[in-house]
């Protein structure tokens, strides 16, 4: 008999007062009893609409059944069949617009907390004594993976399990891509990422940090001189966008990438770290996505009063619901229907305010969302000493500029075949944000897995 309680069991969190003074994880995860109660809310529907809402088709009702039965390892293994990063996705997936959106329980009540249950299964697995997977026997073939973010890690893991000798090339000094430079510790503890990378290394994957493909070594050289039979490009979308408004080069204006990299990757707020970060008193974050929430909440933890400036309304915020709620609980102010037109500076070239217009929603645009339209005469200044631009990112041109014959979209994304990641260059595959533009961890991870299967087929059929 399913548990017909109408709402999700709440997940314990650090109190807002406590957590704005630390960088530790906010959501603390279900305990065993709560997890099983929540799992019992699942109706185990025959047609499993939740599965079709998952970009990698995790067998959701199956793993939830196993949690009810108390077989947590079985639940984890069920998820791991299609998801290379369960502990990560349980934390950062936008479940409300994927699996949980399609949950039948959600028609009348709240959907089953699928994300929280995924996290529970993964954390239970990870809490056990880490058994290093045995290194598979080598099949003698070498594959290079460019980028150590979600798509690269997923691709490398699948290929390594098939016996390929895989090297992952990372431009930065630490592996993990956006999982380490972008997503903050309080949302995704770095120990989880570290564990995934340790597992890959146990499988025999080599990680070559400080190697910029397109500069240190080109894609062509990987294949002609270094003997890699195939290359997977998962170099992400790392190039920050700015608004092109006056004052954006003032001191105190940052891309969210810069601000988050200083705080997350370079650990600027930790004593002993040499990288500086401005400790601003009043910070405006421009944008409404997950990256905007991450930047706002990092700034809050560094002691600032933070205002999110977003040109549409709360309903259009692209960020995960939970992050928006957490940000609001943490005292972050949201100025909706507000759009910056200029950053104003003081006599020393530092930000002193951001000039904005009030907006109203007009007719729907190409994305189907109602287009914000400026209200004449609504200009107003918000005093700030830092402004963080979180307006999205686009793929880095380094690889496309240095790889002849690699076809790309006009906006920079690498053109890759749906389902395989095959590019216009033989032996070169691509996936994740480098192909789609900035998207989600799970989509990138899924693309990495698909490309691994395609690369396997390609090499075996040669």
């Amino acid at each position: 008999m399913p548990n017909m309680i109408k709402t999700k069991y709440p997940m314990p969190t650090q109190s807002p007062e406590a957590r704005i003074c630390n960088f530790e994880e906010v959501a603390l995860g279900y305990g065993l009893e709560t997890a099983q109660l929540e799992a019992q809310r699942c109706l185990n529907c025959k047609n499993q609409p939740c599965v079709s809402g998952c970009p990698v088709q995790v067998h959701i009702p199956d793993f939830i059944r196993l949690i009810v039965k108390g077989d947590m390892e079985g639940a984890y293994q069920t998820i791991a069949q299609t998801n290379a990063l369960p502990a990560v996705c349980g934390r950062v997936c936008p479940q409300e617009s994927q699996c949980e959106k399609h949950c039948v329980r959600g028609l009348r009540d709240e959907p089953v907390a699928i994300g929280r249950l995924e996290r529970f299964a993964a954390d239970t697995h990870n809490a056990r004594e880490a058994e290093k997977p045995p290194k598979p026997a080598s099949n003698g073939h070498k594959v290079a993976v460019v980028g150590s973010g979600p798509s690269g890690l997923a691709c490398a893991g699948d290929l390594a399990r098939l016996g390929y000798q895989v090297t992952v090339f990372e431009a930065l000094h630490r592996a993990g891509g956006v999982l380490v430079y972008g997503i903050p510790e309080f949302r995704l503890p770095k120990a989880i990422v570290r564990r995934e990378i340790d597992t890959l290394q146990a499988l025999g994957v080599e990680i070559s940090t400080n190697t910029v493909i397109g500069k240190t070594i080109t894609v062509d050289e990987l294949m002609t001189e270094y003997g890699y039979e195939a290359v997977f490009v998962g170099s992400g979308a790392g190039l920050p966008k700015f608004m092109s408004i006056p004052g954006e080069t003032l001191k105190g204006v940052y891309s969210a990438n810069e601000f988050l990299t200083r705080v997350n990757l370079m650990r600027a707020s930790v004593p002993g770290s040499d990288t500086p970060v401005q400790l601003a008193k009043h910070v405006a974050v421009v944008g409404g996505g997950n990256v905007a929430m991450d930047a706002a909440r990092c700034a809050r933890r560094l002691g600032a009063e933070v205002t999110v400036v977003y040109r549409r309304t709360r309903d259009e915020l692209p960020a995960r619901l939970e992050e928006v709620e957490h940000a609001m609980e943490e005292g972050i102010v949201f100025n909706f229907l507000t759009n910056p037109v200029e950053v104003l500076g003081d006599e020393n070239g530092w930000v002193k305010a951001i000039r904005c217009l009030k907006m109203e929603l007009g007719e729907p645009d190409a994305s189907g969302r109602r287009r914000p339209v400026a209200i004449p005469g609504s200009e107003h200044d918000l005093p700030m000493d830092a402004v963080i631009m979180a307006l999205g990112t686009s793929p880095n041109p380094l690889i496309r500029d240095t790889t002849k014959g690699l076809e790309t979209q006009r906006w920079g994304g690498i053109i890759a075949e749906e389902g395989t990641g095959k590019t216009s260059r033989e032996g070169v595959y691509a996936g994740g944000d480098a192909v789609t533009g900035a998207a989600t961890v799970i989509l990138a991870m899924g693309a990495g897995k698909q490309a691994a299967a395609a690369i396997h087929q390609y090499i075996q059929s040669k």
């Binding site: 190697t211 240190t216 003032l250 370079m266 040499d274 990288t275 070239g349 880095n396």
Partner: protein, 279 residues
């Protein structure tokens, strides 16, 4: 991890290091830079490649001790490891087709100007070098410049070495004397480059300036190094570091360069104290 092969002090605040980095050495060209960290939790700093040896697989860096990281770097010795060393980054200085060039270097910027002068000299270009320092004690690479320059002008602020004056004085003399250059390439402190560009604009000589902005990743990811060139925002790390000097907004670049000055001063003092305690 990259091993330091050789370490030579060039003057009391400038050090040359030869670092084992075969992959970087293989690709490096004058004008490009590397990014290094001295230790875990260290800062990433960009340093322009001062020389490279493709056969030996080494890259030379020359740095001035100005902040915590360069202080820590300077405490490493031959045989020690640099924690992270990545490159070559940025675009190489364009030298193709140049027949006569004035290379104007100031202070530690001469370390970056020299490989450019050398490359030009090696490709048969007539090179007039103007190198300037505050005072005699700070002079670096004089012999190296002499070897690759058809004309070498030495200037110092206080007249203790070469002619008393600024690099712009020497450059103006050459231009006034009727020297016509395909290009002026200038590398040094921002105010110096600003005035070199102001001068060459009067004479309508194309001028390239090398911008050493604050950077983190050096691959276009953070945008920290952005500057305005010809009214457009560009990233020094991927679009540069060389830009058309007549288009650069130097005042903005100078303001941005001071972003962390207070922090740096404090961090440098701390680093110095740290080494004092160790001793």
């Amino acid at each position: 991890m990259n091993r330091i092969i050789e370490k030579t002090p060039l003057n009391p605040t400038v050090t040359r290091m030869v670092v084992e980095a075969p992959l970087v050495a293989r690709k490096a060209e004058p004008g490009q830079f590397i990014i290094l960290r001295t230790h875990e939790d260290g800062e990433r700093i960009p340093l322009t490649v001062a020389d490279f040896d493709r056969e030996k697989g080494t890259v030379t860096i020359i740095f001035q001790i100005v902040g915590a990281t360069t202080e820590k770097l300077n405490h490493l010795n031959a045989g020690d490891m640099i924690h992270d060393f990545v490159g070559p980054l940025g675009r190489a200085t364009e030298t193709e087709g140049l027949k006569k060039v004035a290379v104007v270097g100031g202070g530690v910027g001469c370390a970056i100007a020299w490989p450019v002068a050398k490359k030009l000299h090696d490709q048969g270009c007539e090179v007039h070098s103007i190198i300037g320092f505050r005072t005699r004690d700070l002079v670096i690479l004089e012999d190296e410049f002499a070897r690759v320059s058809d004309q070498l002008r030495r200037v110092s602020d206080d007249g203790s070495w070469g002619d008393k004056g600024l690099v712009t004085d020497a450059l103006r003399e050459l231009l006034e004397a009727g020297e016509r250059y395909d290009e002026v390439i200038t590398i040094g402190p921002l105010p110096m480059m600003k005035f070199v560009c102001k001068l060459t604009r009067e004479y309508d000589v194309k001028t390239v300036a090398s911008m050493n902005s604050i950077m983190i990743d050096g691959t276009g990811m953070c945008g920290c190094c952005r500057l305005t060139v010809g009214g457009k925002v560009r990233f020094a790390c991927v679009d540069g570091p060389d830009f058309d000097g007549h288009q650069i907004d130097f005042d903005e670049a100078m303001a941005r360069a001071t972003s962390y000055r207070e922090f740096e001063r404090h961090a440098h003092e701390e680093a110095c104290n740290l080494f004092r305690e160790v001793r």
